[in-house]
Symmetry: C2
Subunit: 337 residues, 2 copies
């Protein structure tokens, strides 16, 4: 099978490794930002982020997009949410009639409604053509995926058969793929979990190491609030209770930048200052803008009664004090539907 | 309100603190194993485990059970699962017609059916009288509960009004209580989570620190398998998706003895040896017997297709090798109902 991966960063490289391990004919195309990733690989060296050689994978720099997409039976899009619309706009006239498996997570502003919406909704609006999007959700860290450590991904598409086809192509060697037609639920889980993961980190900063109960309570509350948001967004609660929701929130909250950001803010430092500091250190956290985006999504959809998200927005974006805000947080009450 | 706590260990002490903080008239009765806990408290010192003084709480040693229970409007039972039947047998003739809030977690063998069953089912059979059990589930570490760190507990009772009454008595000062009539679901979650928490630790031992995906996958799988077991046991999946299931599994898997046990076994050491070593060090892990108990419960109820529980039982109780067993683990497939 001919598999083309667009984007040669962490996840693009990892997905190319997965496809290659399954024996596919794999082309990895780098965007105009990815030349530095591909250059050492072209000389037979390791991918600078994955620390792994990309043997047997055809590497194509940004100028060779037409060549990359020609005859592709499966396209994997692995740009970040800021870049996906422009990459897909360039790819649009060249895109074969094949499933487009997206590992991009986030929400974008719709040019039609002006509201925040799912990537699989907004990108076709922006590029003016339909795309057979399959959203790849679930707890998948690029390093672990590329190493073949057990990873559960959930592929969802409005056309279930596209999700199944992508699953069939990628499943195996440590990667377990489940599928559904609930792309709304899967894509929303992927977009929302960064916001909530940051919230768990707040407790580590505010209380210290002995905040296991509070972390677990907020993890549970996050799942309940995500289920309410997903239900309003046309998705299924069961998607939230699977790898897309529970699984991805777990991996995101367990460690990483969102947690580190939350911890520092939890110690009482202004969120803006912490974000600037992490940005300067090349550790940009997705959780910071994700909180604003999630809160905006909730408001635009009229989902009220999300005490955890409201507390996060107050602390991170409105300058509310951590201690009193967390003390006043009333979890345990979410209406779904 | 007159609140009597039976059992003066970690959780008994913590629940007594919670009740006292709410202004109740609290009596803390120690079992015949608890004299060492109460002795320093009687002299005005700290509870040896909670590291906290029990000011304003009436302390009663094991010989004074009648005095402890007289006029109690709420009884909290905080024995462990090995001890609850004998404590409740002694209390039976003295027990007022009041809700009995149980923080005891586990399954016991029914003298009637010979099968493993919930504590709220088996104890009344053993002591020959009905008990108005309210099961206290959710992520609640005694140290954090006693300190007033945010904690979400879920109280469930066949008589919903008893759960609500207990919630009304204990909620506040950091403790958030939700209630339901799904005692089956809540009690099963509490019993099953120790088994699954051990499973997450296996990955840390087997793969090392970079097993976030695998841990998240198994966390998700554990919730799915718990939902299947709860459904078969007459409970609701929604209980599993709340504090009783997701929340308690989160806190139990995040750290503690079950995880330490799993880690050592994951490194390839025989489970029996690790259990003996931890027992000798006074670090008995509940996860070790909990896996056998959960597997037996599943077999007795005819719940098949629980790949994670089967893998755990194979590794921990049947001497299966960790590497090949985890490599063959097929997650992502659970039928609920």
């Amino acid at each position: 099978m001919r598999v083309t991966v667009l984007g040669a960063g962490y996840m693009g490289g990892a997905m190319a490794c997965v496809a290659r391990r399954r024996g596919h004919d794999v082309r990895l195309w780098g965007t105009w930002f990815d030349d530095a990733m591909l250059e050492p690989c072209e000389r037979g060296g390791e991918h600078p982020r994955l620390k792994r050689r990309l043997d047997g994978i055809t590497l194509l720099r940004s100028g060779r997009l037409a060549e990359a997409l020609e005859g592709a039976q499966l396209v994997v899009i692995a740009a970040n949410s800021d870049g996906i619309a422009s990459v897909m706009a360039k790819a649009a006239p060249l895109l074969p009639d094949a499933p487009v498996l997206s590992v991009t997570k986030g929400l974008l502003e719709s040019p039609t409604t002006g509201r925040m919406d799912r990537i699989d909704v907004v990108v076709p609006e922006r590029i003016g053509r339909p795309v057979r999007f399959v959203h790849a959700a679930g707890p998948a860290k690029a390093m672990e995926v590329s190493r073949g450590v057990l990873t559960w991904m959930h592929f969802a598409s409005a056309r279930r058969e596209d999700a199944v086809a992508c699953g069939g192509a990628m499943d195996g060697h440590g990667l377990v793929v489940t599928t559904s037609d609930d792309i709304a639920g899967a894509a929303l889980c992927s977009a929302l979990k960064n916001a909530y993961a940051t919230g768990l980190g707040l407790w580590d900063g505010h209380v210290g190491a002995d905040a296991h109960d509070a972390r677990a309570a907020c993890f549970t509350q996050a799942i309940a609030e995500m289920a309410a948001l997903v239900a309003k967004g046309g998705g299924l609660a069961e998607t939230v209770y699977g790898a897309a929701g529970i699984g991805d929130l777990h991996v995101t909250a367990a460690a990483g930048r969102n947690r580190a950001f939350g911890e520092r803010v939890g110690r009482g430092r202004p969120a803006k200052e912490v974000a600037a500091e992490m940005l300067a250190a090349g550790e940009l956290t997705e959780g910071y803008p994700a909180i604003a985006t999630a809160a905006r999504y909730a408001r635009e959809r009229g989902v009220a009664g999300l005490p955890l998200l409201e507390a996060l927005e107050a602390i991170v974006w409105k300058g509310a004090e951590v201690g009193p805000t967390l003390a006043a947080l009333r979890i345990g009450a979410v209406e779904i539907g």
